[in-house]
């Protein structure tokens, strides 16, 4: 555990009755990064988050948050967005934000100022005096996020922040998350949207049935699952290329071919061969690095 570790989790397990929700997880979240927690439904993501937040106690193992086991003072430096959105229904937006902000240690004046500031950035200043129940679902989710970062925490833990958001609001939220990170904040988020992870996250932990499946930087993991293959589009008979072991047709909308290479052949050799050939015209050439989505499905499907 180094000084720039925001969260240190060591061999935690948690069972509910006979159901083992979290099974011997160990991982670190570094300060200033966006850390993704992935996994199918019921994998134990929310339970792990709740243990980090000390809502639940692990049966075994040890957790340190911002350098020490969670204390009341540390709670003021953390923001939490539960998966089941927690908002009062019959309370005015600003009033609720100020209340939850003061519970995190802000003064009433600061909480008011920051609430209005955030509402303005979210384009929701007009809604400040409205009751939460009068807001649309997307608006409520933005308010939720605003509550999470209201007290300017060092670390936010957000459970499925993008679920149910339309593309426009997803973009707004993404910008907010990136600007939170730019100011040095640490983000732990669980999500189903792999594209978001690829675009935003630095490192990830994938769990299934409570066990760790993947853990590391997003780039490393994609490299690790990269095939010794290239994807090409264009005209020509690819089978005439030297070093191609097998051709697989992948057609999602456009026709492309996946060329599996022989072990000793590198992609640039193939590219050179295509360039040298008069019969082949190339429109697309890329390394077959799988999307996280593919990796997710492969790992979940039981393949290595």
């Amino acid at each position: 555990m180094t000084t720039n570790t925001a969260i240190h989790v060591e061999h935690i397990s948690k069972s509910f009755g006979s159901f083992r929700a979290v099974d011997d997880l160990t991982f670190d979240v570094y300060q200033g990064e966006i850390f993704a927690m992935l996994g199918p439904n019921g994998a134990g993501k929310s339970t792990t988050m709740r243990m980090i937040l000390d809502i639940l106690k692990p049966d075994t193992g040890r957790i340190a948050v911002l350098g020490a086991p969670l204390t009341e003072a540390t709670k003021d430096r953390i923001g939490y967005l539960p998966e089941e959105r927690g908002l009062y229904r019959n309370v005015r937006v600003q009033e609720m934000m100020v209340y939850l902000g003061t519970l995190k240690g802000l003064s009433t004046a600061d909480a008011t100022r920051r609430s209005l500031d955030l509402l303005e950035r979210l384009g929701m200043l007009e809604q400040a005096k409205k009751k939460v129940s009068e807001l649309s679902k997307g608006m409520q989710q933005k308010i939720q996020f605003a509550v999470t970062v209201l007290h300017d925490p060092d670390l936010i833990i957000i459970d499925e922040p993008f679920s149910g958001l339309d593309p426009v609001n997803s973009l707004v939220l993404k910008d907010l998350l990136l600007s939170f990170k730019a100011r040095g904040g640490t983000i732990v988020m669980s999500t189903h949207q792999m594209s978001q992870v690829e675009e935003m996250c630095d490192r990830l932990l994938m769990i299934s049935k409570g066990k760790q499946k993947l853990y590391g930087s997003v780039t490393d993991i994609r490299q690790q699952y990269a095939l010794h293959a290239i994807i090409v589009e264009g005209q020509g008979d690819w089978s005439k290329l030297p070093g191609v072991a097998r051709i697989e047709s992948i057609s999602n909308g456009r026709n492309a071919d996946l060329l599996h290479l022989q072990p000793d052949v590198t992609p640039d050799k193939v590219l050179a061969a295509i360039a040298a050939s008069q019969e082949m015209r190339i429109e697309r050439f890329e390394l077959a690095v799988p999307s996280l989505n593919d990796i997710f499905i492969r790992v979940e499907g039981g393949q290595p």
């Binding site: 509910f16 809502i55 639940l56 709670k75 953390i78 539960p82």
Partner: protein, 416 residues
């Protein structure tokens, strides 16, 4: 701690603005005043109307009105009868509508009895009083007469056929004050602890609870809620107290309210019992709110709880006939029934000091126990979503050895 204060303040201000609270605080007294006003209007008109009684007889064993000097306003109202048999016969034949009996010892005791079909109007009582005064005035040389002039009548009213005797001076105090105090008690504890419970249920169902307990500890949350809503209950009592005080102050012209006071000892005892039992019921409600699956279910719990407080009313006849009997004593000692039982007994008699102390000590200890146990259940069950918990499990939680983690029932992991 500061955060307890924040929760208390929020709970106070939020619930203060609830329509149901505003109705309970202002609507109930206004409604009561309105009803009383109508009732008094009816009563006072009947109180003024002497003619409905007709002729009135007097049986004088004390020799006060032998040479009857009749009041000027109603020279023909009173008729003298030599004995009660003839007066009774006249009443039965409805020649007269009522008769008064002055016993031989009247001069010493002031005791007067009246027999009538219905309660005699205040106006008639005044007429009779002035008749007595005029006749007593002829004998100011006797010291007992002077005393009687100062306080001419201690009337016992016998209602024909009902067999119930009422003494004038103790009637309102006897019946209404303990009743009013008990009602106030039940309403204020019921309203505020009900708010507490539904607040907890709401925060659990909308998951604000998860944000709350990652900001403060469950104990801070529980205490903040209890203090905030307790202050709300006191506010409610204050409003009612002021309203009641005004009513008594400006309502002295209404015969019914004459002489009604709220004795200070009763007010003090009321406040002590209110605070203790409020803590008892509020923490119990918070614990129940934390384990109950729905608003509907929690309402059932709260109505059962409020029923416990009303139990003494079921045995109100025991309290009237024998306020120091076994049953009233028992109800004085049981924590839930003690507030109302004590208030009733103080109204109808005197509660021995040791019983009062024992009752308070028992209430205090059980309140501490319940607050402690509820805090444990509360902390444990905050994240319990939609799952029924057995009494055995609750008992395990209180002892600190739960067999199930509450979040086993969290649906988010398995269903979303």
């Amino acid at each position: 701690m500061n955060k307890i204060g924040l929760v208390a303040r929020r709970e106070y201000l939020f619930n203060l603005r609830r329509p149901s609270f505003l109705f309970a605080v202002f609507g109930v007294p206004l409604f009561t005043f309105a009803v009383w006003f109508v009732v008094f209007a009816v009563i006072s008109s009947t109180e003024e109307d002497i003619s409905r009684v007709g002729q009135v007889g007097i049986v004088d064993h004390a020799g006060i009105v032998e040479e009857m000097i009749l009041p000027d306003q109603s020279p023909d109202l009173f008729t003298s009868y030599p004995d009660e048999t003839s007066a009774r016969a006249a009443l039965d034949s409805q020649t007269i509508g009522a008769y008064f009996v002055l016993p031989q010892n009247y001069l010493r005791t002031g005791t007067v009895e009246s027999y009538s079909y219905s309660n005699i109007p205040a106006a008639l009582r005044n007429q009779f009083t002035s008749l007595l005064l005029m006749n007593l005035g002829m004998r100011v040389d006797q010291p007992t007469s002077v005393e009687r002039i100062q306080n001419p009548i201690e009337l016992t009213i016998h209602l024909n056929d009902s067999g119930r005797d009422l003494t004038e001076s103790n009637l309102p105090a006897l019946f209404f004050i303990p009743l009013i105090f008990s009602l106030l008690f039940m309403m204020s504890t019921g309203v505020t602890s009900g708010f507490l419970m539904s607040g907890v249920v709401e925060e659990r169902s909308n998951r604000v609870m998860e944000i709350l307990i990652t900001s403060i500890t469950p104990t801070q949350l529980l205490l903040g809620k209890i203090i905030g809503l307790g202050s709300l209950g006191l506010t409610q009592l204050l409003v009612w107290g002021v309203a009641g005080g005004l009513l008594i102050r400006f309502g002295q012209t209404i015969p019914f309210l004459q002489g009604v006071t709220f004795p200070l000892d009763m007010v003090l005892i009321f406040i002590v019992y209110f605070l203790l039992s409020y803590f008892l019921i509020a923490s119990l409600m918070a614990g129940l709110g934390a384990i109950s699956g729905s608003d509907h279910e929690s309402r059932q719990y709260s109505s059962i709880l409020s029923l416990l407080f009303v139990v003494p009313f079921f045995f109100i006849t025991s309290f009237i006939t024998d306020p120091n009997g076994t049953l009233p004593l028992l109800l004085t000692l049981i924590p839930f029934t003690s507030p109302v039982a004590v208030l009733l007994r103080i109204g109808f008699g005197v509660v021995p000091a040791w019983q009062l102390i024992a009752s308070l000590v028992i209430l205090f200890i059980s309140t501490l126990l319940v607050v402690w146990a509820s805090a444990r259940v509360f902390r444990w069950a905050l994240l319990l979503y939609g799952k029924r918990i057995s009494l055995r499990e609750i008992w395990r939680v209180i002892r600190g050895v739960p067999s199930v983690e509450p979040s086993v029932a969290i649906p988010t992991e398995n269903q979303s």
